[in-house]
């Protein structure tokens, strides 16, 4: 088949830079992952319960409550959420938009995995990590692939 990149030649500056850029991108994507998961989770909770409490967020994320508090602090700092003490957490418009995008991407990734034969439980599990590394181009390719079916 030979569809793979040649082994990196550390003497070629262009190849080295390209490779470095791939790792750099993966690191950037990872830094966004936490924001994405929390906005999606908060949106889920508000849809279902009308509010998102720190305790519920923490329990569903599988972390201790001060960890969730810190994450929400970061969401607020980045303009994605607001909250008042002892009240719930709410998404700003930007946060709600992110939640929408993230939910849609999550769904497409799960569907794609299932479509290529991954067991649904594995698909759900792996998608939680994979989704954060799916670029727009890849997402569109997934949608095309799924569209050319039922």
């Amino acid at each position: 088949m030979m569809t793979h990149e040649p082994p990196a030649d550390p003497d070629d500056p262009a190849l080295a830079a390209a490779q470095a850029e791939r790792f750099s991108q993966a690191r950037t994507a990872q830094a966004q992952a936490l924001l994405e998961d929390y906005t999606e989770m908060i949106d889920d909770l508000i849809r279902e319960h009308g509010e998102a409490r720190i305790t519920d967020i923490a329990r569903l994320m599988g972390v201790a409550h001060p960890t969730a508090t810190k994450a929400v602090a970061r969401l607020k700092r980045e303009g994605l959420a607001v909250s008042r003490p002892y009240r719930g957490v709410f998404l700003t418009e930007a946060g709600a938009e992110m939640a929408e995008r993230v939910r849609s991407r999550h769904r497409v990734v799960v569907d794609l995995l299932i479509a290529v034969g991954v067991p649904p439980e594995s698909a759900e599990r792996d998608a939680e990590g994979i989704e954060h590394h799916v670029s727009d181009e890849t997402l569109m390719a997934f949608e095309r692939f799924l569209g050319g079916r039922g």
Copy 2:
């Protein structure tokens, strides 16, 4: 299609635990990612140049050299690599095994992405992050999907 999980009900302990477990797994996978990328990189360099120097590792990973030094220190601490001052870095048997697994998984992920229509450059880029979240079951499904082709 309705292949998706129902919205998480934070009142159901079983569902909450399952959801928490997915996030927890994604965090664990992420913690392994750095080790995987470095072992693969070191193995690449040794194959091609007979040795893996800190400078080359750092340049190809896109980080400053003390960052690479720290990562190698962690590899050594975890029994995946050895090194002596001012000499190169070498993989232990465990490290070499990890490199093999990681390289194989990377290749399969790229091929799968391309097979479902992702542009090769996007595939290479996104695979660098996705690969760390592909479980054994998902990997096997990818291989089956690719096998039922050319």
